[in-house]
Symmetry: C2
Subunit: 399 residues, 2 copies
């Protein structure tokens, strides 16, 4: 071979090494920020097709629940962090006892791995959450009915762990549906909560550095279809400035209360009332609701996460445009990887479309990319981002 | 090993592969753009310490003048492009005959590899260039003196090939200096040109896609010290709008005239007159004078270069802030890599400082990173960017 592959790059001394467990699109986009900051990103991938593996020089193979693999992976990293919630907090605690610096730490992770602990902790600390109840073993249906009687149908049943993108969440309309669901979930830990009547769904991303410094981005509106986020509008349109400020403070206080280091996404219901926000979900990492920051804010959530876990000062979270809209590109019928790539030139005909493709293996409903569009007007931004995504999906009628 | 290194990532079908010869900071920053666009970037590195090698999954080893190596490297890439000017145009022509798509192509590259050809071609096409003359072999000193007598001292002597960052360029003040230089350059091809009295130095970056589409960024001012660019101010302050428009048109016309595909940097003298611009240097790739685009424009020069060489539509080159200032971080005494990394938190205390570190082996005078600062005012942006660089260099008096 005249141009053989390089075995291993040689870094200058003093380069910080951040190890990220998981090699999905969040790790992939973190690499863009790591390159700018001069941070060396090492990722732990499950397989060669993990999409961050294609863009990093330092990829290790191993499962996120395999203590030996994660231990081996963490050797030599300055900070260990996560692209997902699948590393059990107990495993992280083991690593910490061995001297690994994990951010967020094992004391914070349970609140994103166990939704019941999250509800209990937030409620105990006075944060607004839906009413909820844990059914007694053997009395699940009875307790679910009693809860609905105390509140109202429908109710929401949530798996204690493992849910995301609408999985692990069931809206239960009536007694018949409740009976069916309770049967189906016989082997699962779950709890029930009120179905919050909301005007819209919103989110705040906040970063907390290892130094304690906190910075939040403005409140955004998130639009979900079938439990999957399809659109984010930043900032959330038609928002009372006091409410917007209150939402940021709420998110900052949760980050402090849970001693989060890194990014925290706080997904909330906006009920439209005087105290409009009710906390729905948390994520302790860069999150889909913050992808707009890559083009719409001075500092992206990925850069901020690295700065936070390294204990560096946080970057400016100001807006760079009056409106930024993020639209997700989901896999589906006719949305194979090669077809998507062939449609890029058509999608980029709008010169302001900011494309972010993940190079993931495509599955129906799977997030395989997103576009951001900055504009002066919400409607225009929504329309332009939607058009680009429809073109990439082959739904514009011409391709 | 519990978490063994991954041998090779697996990409989904249809992913475009761009091969970049050279693995310096331009390739490194191109990788950030490639990640977003879903483009697979393969780089040809000279050694394991090349700074793009640390951030790519597909690094091959070989020299840019080694036909077999570049041929092997180019196998399977959709487009071949360059991080520097060191691949001889004749070698690229050989590759093209073998079916490789090189952008810019072998017909365009001579104008950045041979400054005399560049001067001749631009002058023949009516573009403004300094007066110049090629000395006759054996009559070098005589011809240089005659040229100065026809114009004025000082004159500028330029090596026909190989110069950059002030190397290969000599300002000759008088006859004595001329005699010394002519002796010293006995083995080098050179020519002489007038020393243009300029108000300031400026540059325009322009992209030309394989489709023929052209987009330029606004005119910027470049500040050089010892022949090395230290500061770029975008847009160039206090510029007559007609002059600014004229500079863009000039750059666009050169890109067309030379049939450039990819990025073209046109460095010019601004003489302050009615037709103020005189072309100094060209580069056919992303260029230091365009680093400000990473934070100051909707589309960065690195993304634009990829879009251009892939024949995709070009992105919006609008400004994202009233002023963006780029300040280079140069290596020097006390500016070792580890020391620079230890000073990052202090430099980032200004939350609007956008850091770009290359993780290069540090040498005195070598560009090892840059910062961008966006602001409403030129003076403030210059001051903030300068402060960050001084802190990183350990020159702020406290570290």
């Amino acid at each position: 071979m005249s141009a053989p592959p390089l075995a291993a790059p040689q870094l200058p001394p003093g380069v910080p090494v951040v190890g990220m467990v998981g090699a999905g699109q969040l790790a992939r986009m973190t690499q863009q920020a790591a390159i700018a900051l001069g941070v060396h990103l090492r990722v732990l991938a499950v397989g060669a097709a993990d999409c961050a593996a294609g863009v990093c020089s330092d990829v290790r193979l191993g499962g996120p629940r395999d203590l030996a693999a994660v231990q081996d992976f963490a050797r030599g990293v300055d900070v260990l962090t996560f692209d997902h919630e699948h590393v059990p907090a107990a495993l992280v605690a083991d690593l910490e006892r061995g001297g690994v610096v994990a951010r967020p730490g094992s004391h914070a992770l349970p609140y994103v791995q166990d939704k019941l602990q999250m509800r209990q902790r937030l409620a105990a600390s006075g944060f607004p959450v839906p009413h909820w109840a844990v059914p007694r073993p053997g009395h699940e249906l009875e307790d679910l009915r009693a809860f609905a009687a105390d509140h109202h149908w429908p109710v929401v049943v949530k798996a204690v762990s493992g849910g995301y993108d609408g999985r692990g969440v069931w809206v239960v309309e009536d007694e018949t549906a409740a009976a069916r669901l309770v049967d189906a979930l016989a082997d699962l830990r779950w709890f029930v909560e009120t179905h919050v009547a909301f005007r819209r769904e919103v989110a705040v991303q906040v970063a907390r550095s290892a130094t304690g410094e906190i910075r939040a981005w403005p409140l955004v509106q998130t639009v979900q279809e079938n439990g999957i986020c399809t659109l984010v509008i930043a900032p959330a349109p038609q928002t009372d400035p006091e409410h917007a400020a209150h939402a940021r403070t709420l998110a900052e206080n949760i980050a402090k209360e849970l001693d989060v280091v890194g990014l925290l996404a706080v997904e909330m219901f906006d009920t439209g009332g005087d105290e409009p926000f009710v906390v729905n979900e948390l994520a302790m990492r860069p999150h889909n609701s913050g992808h707009w920051t890559m083009d719409g804010s001075v500092t992206s959530q990925f850069e901020q996460h690295l700065r936070a876990v390294l204990g560096w000062p946080l970057g400016d979270t100001s807006l760079r445009a009056p409106v930024t809209v993020m639209a997700n590109l989901l896999g589906g019928s006719g949305v194979e990887a090669a077809a998507v790539h062939s449609r890029i030139p058509a999608a980029l005909a709008d010169p302001g479309v900011r494309l972010h493709l993940y190079n993931k293996q495509v599955k129906p409903g799977r997030k395989i990319g997103h576009v951001n569009v900055c504009d002066a007007e919400v409607d225009a931004a929504v329309q332009r981002a939607g058009t680009a995504v429809r073109i990439l999906r082959g739904e514009d009628g011409s391709r």
